[in-house]
């Protein structure tokens, strides 16, 4: 079990920075069946029912990318750089390449990434789906993603990350910069299903203007080597809103250090962070940091953790207020399943195991906004399966 202070260091030299090119496929149905199954598990709809666009990257190659709605752009970051000269104003503006060795590597050895943009006033009818996929053993995939919701637009993105079934080790470094312009809304749902020894280092920053809304859902139920991320969101304009939810399961060998920071820079901004974690043999550090810079802001953080069998569960909620007149609160609870709850359900006829799994399922059942019904069903199934593995 890994403790907070000895999270293993990653030696970048252990990873390969090059991979062979994969051919572009014109139709999603042409994707190899083993890959397709992994994509399905993280929410990619091969039939593209109820999807506005698709972006799929395998190792360093973009193997498919298209938009199905006018006013919604979906392309690789290199294409976007060619098409939009102004993109340099958006890249590396929030994250310095010198932040750590991962960001440095992402700039030195870039492997694409997506560019997704909703033009002013355009509302996506369905989510855009994206998938970053690693197939090459020992590969370090370094991507740079940019999502822009222009003024008064509404952009939904579902992004799944996965590895090929045979893969053992790998590294994913993802630089993501999100822009939510005045009156726009970005709903971003990320589902991770990495391999047991894959290390993941996302580096994400979002900027939200006046009246903008960002909703981020992060789900990681399957084993992962180590995952460390702490996305930061700046609410810069009056009345901007951020809502972050994460659902985490750490099975044996998994180390998850996951949190988010929201900085409330303008009056009337609101932020909420909700996190649910289950350590079942692995370790979770659930962080949350709310920073109130002006009066008249409102922010709440809720962090609940359970330990099943054994594991480490550490909740670190932080509130920082720089001025009077802020309204900030947090609620954190870590523990085991309450015996009263188990016996209450037993009194309704469930046996002990049935009662425990019902409670665990409920615990992980956070209502996620903007999730297509089919994906919601898939997620419920994934929760049931995960919960079976934990017992």
């Amino acid at each position: 079990m890994l403790k907070r202070d000895n999270a293993f260091d990653i030696n970048l030299e252990d990873y390969k920075v090059d991979a062979k090119d994969h051919a572009y496929v014109e139709k999603l149905s042409q994707i190899e069946s083993t890959d397709a199954k992994q994509l399905l598990d993280v929410g990619v709809d091969i039939d593209e029912n109820a999807r506005t666009g698709t972006f799929i990257q395998k190792d360093k190659s973009v193997i498919h990318c298209k938009t199905r709605q006018d006013g919604v752009e979906v392309m690789s970051i290199s294409q976007a750089q060619e098409k939009h000269e102004w993109l340099s104003d958006y890249m590396w503006k929030n994250i310095s390449p010198d932040t750590d060795k991962f960001t440095f590597q992402a700039r030195e050895i870039p492997h694409e990434g997506y560019f997704i943009r909703a033009l002013p006033g355009v509302k996506t009818k369905h989510p855009v789906q994206s998938c970053l996929y690693i197939a090459k053993e020992g590969f370090s995939q370094n991507v740079h993603n940019i999502a822009i919701a222009e003024e008064d637009s509404e952009l939904h993105i579902i992004t799944g990350c996965a590895t090929a079934p045979h893969m053992v080790t790998g590294l994913h470094v993802g630089i993501s910069e999100f822009y939510v312009k005045k009156g726009a809304k970005l709903v971003f749902t990320m589902i991770h299903d990495w391999g047991e020894k894959v290390n993941v280092r996302p580096r994400t920053v979002a900027q939200v203007e006046e009246g903008g809304v960002i909703i981020s859902n992060y789900i990681s139920l399957r084993p992962v080597g180590s995952l460390q991320m702490f996305p930061t969101t700046h609410l810069n304009g009056k009345g901007a809103v951020a809502r972050f939810q994460s659902i985490l399961v750490a099975s044996r060998g998994s180390f998850l250090d996951v949190g988010s920071r929201i900085v409330l820079n303008a009056p009337g901004t609101r932020a909420e962070i909700i996190s649910r974690g289950i350590a079942s043999g692995g370790s979770i550090i659930a962080r949350g940091d709310l920073v109130g810079k002006v009066a008249g802001i409102k922010a709440h953080l809720e962090c609940k953790g359970l330990i099943l069998n054994d594991g480490l569960m550490q909740a670190i909620p932080e509130l920082t207020a720089h001025v009077p007149g802020v309204e900030m609160s947090h609620e954190a609870a870590v523990g085991k399943i309450d015996q009263h709850e188990i016996e209450y359900l037993m009194a309704r006829g469930l046996d002990e195991d049935g009662a425990i799994s019902t409670i665990v399922r409920g615990f992980l059942n956070v209502d996620i906004e903007g999730l297509p019904a089919s994906l919601k069903k898939k997620l419920d199934r994934a929760v049931s399966e995960t919960q079976k593995d934990m017992m």
Binding site: K304, R348, L350
Partner: protein, 258 residues
């Protein structure tokens, strides 16, 4: 239906129930009176089999079967159901889902039942999450109506409930126990209630619930001792006039005999 013999129960090293003998025949509703802390809830929790209530002597027999060491869920499936006074919140579990858990044979029309209990708007809320006193009672009764137990244990069904809700709750209990009075009816009342088989033990310390439900017998628990068993209204009259003082005298008489 239920027979309790010489039951002694210890909670955290302290004797809570002492030599309790009780019988609830098939079809009868008994009221269990007693001041706060007398052991009423402990008796109920022991009958249901909750952890922490250690039976050190005696036994509990239900439908002719010794259930003293039976797991909680088996007692539930055998036909015992409880309405708790302070049930726990279960995050993420909708009330509708727990009602479906209770409805083992899938015979209940949950919507219809919820409508009867004025509970429709709460079906998709997390179980007991921020429920008011009355909402908790209605949620508990809804679960019991789906479960249809043969022996119903109700812990303080009137506590924390406003006057409007208590009528609804009384009706729900009567219909659960097949003791409802409705007129005019096509069939004679005696025929409707002739198939009555449900038994109940209703815990109350104020006795207000007796204004809304009927009972066959009353019992008084004082300081862990069952010190009185007679007509429920008669007991209530005493308690309303003189409090539990008379019960102190009776339990003091019994104490040396245990």
């Amino acid at each position: 239906m239920l027979q309790i013999e010489e039951l002694k129960v210890v909670v955290g090293g302290k004797t809570i129930l002492n030599n309790v003998n009780m019988e609830i025949p098939k079809g009868e509703t008994h009221i269990l009176f007693g001041p706060n802390g007398s052991g009423k809830t402990s008796l109920m929790m022991t009958i249901m089999g909750f952890s922490g209530y250690n039976v050190t002597r005696g036994k509990i027999i239900f439908k002719g079967e010794d259930i003293t060491d039976m797991p909680i869920n088996e007692r539930a499936l055998l036909g015992i159901g409880v309405s708790f006074q302070r049930p726990p919140t279960i995050s993420g579990l909708k009330t509708r889902e727990i009602v479906e858990i209770c409805d083992v044979d899938r015979s209940t029309n949950v919507e219809e039942l919820a409508k009867q209990l004025n509970f429709t708007d709460l079906l998709y809320r997390d179980v007991n999450h921020n429920f008011s006193g009355g909402e908790i009672k209605r949620s508990e009764l809804l679960q019991l109506m789906a479960q249809q137990p043969d022996l119903v244990l109700l812990d303080e069904p009137e506590s924390g409930v406003d006057l409007e809700s208590i009528v609804l709750i009384g009706d729900a209990i009567n219909s659960l126990l097949n003791r409802g009075v409705r007129c005019p009816q096509e069939r004679p009342h005696k025929e409707i209630i002739s198939g009555r088989t449900k038994s109940a033990l209703v815990i109350t310390h104020t006795g207000h619930i007796l204004d809304y439900i009927t009972a066959d017998r009353g019992q008084v628990l004082y300081n862990g001792i069952l010190c009185c068993s007679r007509n429920a209204r008669e007991i209530l009259k005493w308690i309303r006039e003189y409090g539990y003082e008379e019960c102190v005298r009776c339990s003091n008489e019994i104490m040396p005999l245990i």
